[in-house]
């Protein structure tokens, strides 16, 4: 499903050059639930961004769904982001000037979906994350955990084949974290959604199929769990 080959990412600023990812090769199969762990600053978000087509690697090759994406047009890239990928950001990234329901609808706005259908799907997604009663709220009126759940609802509303989750349970208490984990597990099991999740929680990682560890931009180990 996702094939990364010799991915390198260098961030250049005026003063420093950071090698955020160093020669990463990783294959993720369809229906796999993969977790990524590693110390802060080791490049986990960077890796996820590259998988999610939100950033381009400095070097290397990405195949998504057997297609090499490096020569994709903007239109095609956007369509992939829109239809194949659901992204859950570490810091939520909600549009603060829009109510919760509109935030969740957002991916559908760039699809050919009627507004009634958009509302319905968004409400459904919010129900799944237990926020049906907060649809008219603005993000500023929500707690961190609630925002996280809105971000999850937005990621799943379009029923993507791949969900990339950057610490989706990082801001939640264990009960809530568990619920989110169950949502993801369910998507993975029922819809064969491919999921890549960054986490700091060893227990969460254990519930996935495979764990890869990142250190200073390099892959250092890979464990497969039998669940």
């Amino acid at each position: 499903m996702i094939h990364l080959k010799n991915i390198e990412k260098v961030y250049r600023t005026d003063t420093v050059e950071t090698l955020a990812l160093n020669n990463i090769t990783l294959q993720i199969e369809k229906g796999e639930f993969l977790s990524i762990m590693g110390p802060s600053g080791c490049g986990k978000s960077t890796l996820l961004n590259i998988m999610g087509l939100l950033d381009e690697p400095t070097k290397g090759q990405i195949n998504l769904d057997t297609q090499e994406i490096s020569d994709f047009s903007d239109k095609k890239l956007s369509r992939f982001r829109n239809q194949k990928i659901g992204f859950i950001f570490q810091s939520y990234h909600l549009i603060n000037d829009l109510p919760v329901l509109d935030n969740v609808e957002l991916p559908l706005l760039y699809r050919d979906v009627s507004s009634a259908e958009r509302r319905r799907l968004a409400a459904e997604a919010l129900e799944k994350v237990g926020l049906a009663n907060r649809m008219k709220h603005y993000p500023s009126q929500l707690s961190g955990g609630q925002k996280q759940r809105v971000a999850i609802a937005r990621a799943i509303v379009g029923q993507p084949e791949i969900i990339l989750a950057d610490e989706p349970t990082g801001n939640l208490d264990s009960a809530m974290g568990n619920e989110i984990m169950e949502i993801l597990e369910n998507l993975n099991r029922a819809d064969r959604t491919t999921i890549v999740m960054v986490t700091h929680d060893e227990n969460m990682a254990r519930r996935t199929h495979r764990l890869v560890r990142l250190f200073d931009g390099s892959l250092v180990s890979s464990n497969t769990f039998v669940n």
């Binding site: 950033d55 956007s78 829009l98 109510p99 937005r154």
Partner: protein
């Protein structure tokens, strides 16, 4: 999508309100400029009703108080001009020659109505010198003068103002004048003069300025010769010859230059407002990089991002334009100036189009700037 745009505009009503006000002010300026342009252009393309080609104005002063002497002098000049092969035709006129600096007007009455009109006292050959075409009736002749009441020729516009749809020929105005003919237009003040009322009546004994139509190919030599010859006909006469073409372009300049200055000032104002708008949009859009990153991340193309911001700007512009139109339509409704309503209509249409054009231009660059960056980079900046 529009619903979505409205929500975001409403959330940012404060900064959007300022933008709307700027657009409102620019709209009013553009409305004034376009209305004036349409008005001026329309006047310019309206038929003049007279031709200045090869027509010269001869300002003549006999420097005498004696009416009988004037009559003799006029006959003298007539005879000389008739005998001059370089002169195709000529006519006497009151001092308000076309495109000159002197004007004369009068109130004329009919059926209790009183209408202001230019008043020209001319001889019978006046229309042939200036190529004036009759719309109906005829020009007055020398024989007419003794009839009952002064025979007069009026423009179509004056006829309409005095008589409405009634037949003008034969009507008496201001008790002692009788309409014998109607001409279509007589725009004798400049190329940009609006169609105004004019009334021609037979010349008086003191109306001894001249218009002459010269034969093709006459040169400066001929002009000097003509001036000298007329001068020699009497003593103490002053003769001054001017070409109607030149007089016309002088008049045109006195009208056009202030308009151009006004346009320059307005252009400068609108340019500044546009620049301000550009700055505000640039800042607004840059501040919304995070939002753009999110939209891009969930699948918006660069084009959709640009279209989105341009639409948003156009929606805000529409509010400013709507407010502007509300004020603009008051001018024709209250009849502030004596100008056709369609001039304002086009002023509004063109100002609206200009505003939209400016808005699209101002939104285009900042939104493109914001759309081309990678979503992760945009989000990182949030």
């Amino acid at each position: 999508m529009l619903n979505h745009i409205f929500k975001l505009i409403w959330k940012k009503k404060k900064s959007n309100f300022l933008m709307m006000l700027e657009i409102f002010v620019s709209f009013l300026i553009l409305f004034a400029v376009w209305s004036l342009s349409v008005y001026t252009y329309r006047n310019y393309v309206t038929p003049a009703g007279l031709s200045t080609d090869r027509v010269w104005a001869v300002y003549l002063q006999f420097n005498t108080d004696s009416d009988s002497l004037r009559r003799i002098n006029c006959d003298l000049v007539s005879q000389y001009l008739k005998g001059n092969r370089g002169i195709e035709s000529f006519a006497f006129s009151s001092s308000n020659l076309p495109f000159g600096f002197s004007t004369m007007n009068n109130q004329f009455e009919y059926g209790g109505k009183s209408v202001m009109s230019d008043n020209l006292a001319v001889s019978a050959d006046y229309p042939s010198v200036l190529g004036i075409q009759m719309l109906s009736g005829r020009w007055f002749t020398a024989a007419d003068t003794v009839g009952s009441g002064k025979p007069v020729v009026i423009t179509r516009r004056l006829a309409a103002e005095l008589f409405g749809k009634e037949e003008p020929i034969g009507k008496r105005i201001s008790t002692d004048r009788r309409v014998v003919g109607v001409v279509d237009y007589f725009r004798h003040k400049s190329s940009f003069q609006a169609d105004e009322n004019a009334l021609f009546e037979p010349m008086n004994i003191w109306d001894n300025d001249l218009l002459v139509k010269v034969a093709p190919g006459t040169d400066a030599e001929f002009e000097a010769q003509l001036a000298r010859s007329i001068q020699k006909l009497g003593k103490d006469w002053t003769v001054e010859i001017q070409h109607l073409d030149n007089m016309k372009s002088t008049q045109d300049k006195t009208i056009l230059i202030p308009i151009l200055i006004l346009f320059g000032v307005c252009g400068f104002l609108v340019f500044n407002v546009g620049l301000g708008l550009f700055g505000v949009l640039f800042q607004n859009i840059s501040r919304r990089r995070g939002e753009i990153g999110i939209r891009r991340a969930v699948g918006a193309t660069k084009k959709q991002i640009m279209r989105y911001f341009i639409s948003e700007t156009l929606v805000i512009a529409t509010f400013g334009v709507a407010l502007g139109v509300f004020f603009a339509v008051q001018i024709p409704l209250l009849n502030v100036f004596d100008v056709e309503g369609s001039v304002y209509f086009w002023g509004i249409v063109l100002a609206t189009l200009s505003i939209y054009g400016i808005a699209v231009l101002c939104a285009f660059y900042p939104s493109r700037q914001a759309a081309v960056i990678y979503p992760a980079v945009a989000l990182h900046e949030e």
